[in-house]
């Protein structure tokens, strides 16, 4: 084999390697997006949507402490941001995204409950807050089963002029809706688990 033909073989091999490398790299390119209308407000809505799902996922762990909630919440957020990144929506210009959640335990009328889930998020110097709010308004213990009156709603800083009304289902009791935000629960058990239509779980415990 002459030097010339050997160099030709090397050249062909190099070309094949380059083509293979390019095809492998292109497999990791964003799949779906060609033109995007960039809108930072839409990105806030996008983050809020993720936060709600992450909260729904985290709250189903039946937790009453921030560490466990945070771990589950961030696990979901991490997966979701990876998907967003793959679509190319951020285009590498997102800057810092931060998203955190916490819960507050409330106690009134000898009932312990999750009073608040709070999610805060920021993107490109814009901030947002999403809150799931529960108040125990009254407990009537005179009937056979305790009757608990609660107020429950969601609130978002993206739509500050309105509270977001949700529906609830209950395990361990029966629920009756009084108006948009006020519900009456007849407690058949000491532990009441509530789930709203977005999948967010809250708890009541009669002490």
């Amino acid at each position: 084999m002459t030097v010339n033909s050997r160099s030709q073989i090397y050249l062909i091999v190099c070309i094949i390697i380059i083509i293979l490398s390019l095809s492998l790299l292109s497999a990791f390119e964003p799949l779906y997006v060609d033109v995007i209308e960039e809108d930072r407000i839409v990105m806030l809505y996008q983050l809020e949507s993720i936060a709600i799902e992450a909260l729904a996922y985290g709250s189903t762990k039946y937790v009453m402490n921030n560490t466990v909630l945070n771990q589950a919440f961030l696990q979901y957020v991490h997966n979701a941001l990876y998907v967003l990144n793959r679509t190319g929506i951020f285009k590498g210009k997102a800057g810092k995204i931060s998203i955190t959640c916490s819960l507050v335990i409330g106690r009134s009328y000898n009932v312990t409950y999750i009073k608040l889930y709070r999610v805060t998020y920021s993107f490109s110097s814009l901030n947002g807050t999403y809150v799931v709010h529960l108040d125990v308004l009254d407990v009537d213990r005179l009937s056979i089963y305790p009757v608990i009156k609660i107020r429950y709603y969601h609130y978002s800083s993206l739509t500050p002029s309105m509270i977001r009304v949700r529906s609830l289902v209950v395990r361990g009791g029966m629920i009756l809706r009084n108006n948009d935000t006020v519900f009456t629960i007849t407690a058949l058990s000491k532990n009441i688990i509530m789930k709203d239509d977005l999948g967010i779980v809250t708890f009541l415990r009669i002490d």
């Binding site: 839409v42 809020e48 949507s49 799902e53 979701a80």
Partner: protein, 93 residues
């Protein structure tokens, strides 16, 4: 009857439908035609709608993607009720 706040333009329509709780409900219950009809009413302009699964599979497509559109909006929903099952929605108007 749906009414969109004035500050929600075409670019924000999917985000607004999501915040109203409609987008996830229609997509995960596979009521794509209903979503299509809703967009038709709200936009009142020709549009194409594509919905993809996370692996890039086209789940739903309506309208012609070959005609020129002035806006392309991409919105991602990651799941419903705490599940992780992302959908990528591409709206061209």
């Amino acid at each position: 009857m749906l009414s969109i706040p004035h500050d929600i333009g075409i670019g924000r329509i999917l985000a607004w439908l999501d915040s109203a709780g409609l987008l996830k409900k229609l997509i995960y219950s596979r009521k794509y035609d209903e979503l299509n009809r809703m967009l038709l009413l709200l936009l009142d302009k020709p549009f194409s709608l594509e919905i993809y699964a996370i692996n890039g599979t086209l789940i739903f497509q309506s309208g012609s993607i070959n005609r020129p559109y002035s806006h392309s909006i991409v919105y991602v929903i990651t799941g419903v009720n705490g599940s992780f099952d992302p959908r990528i929605i591409v709206l061209r108007v």
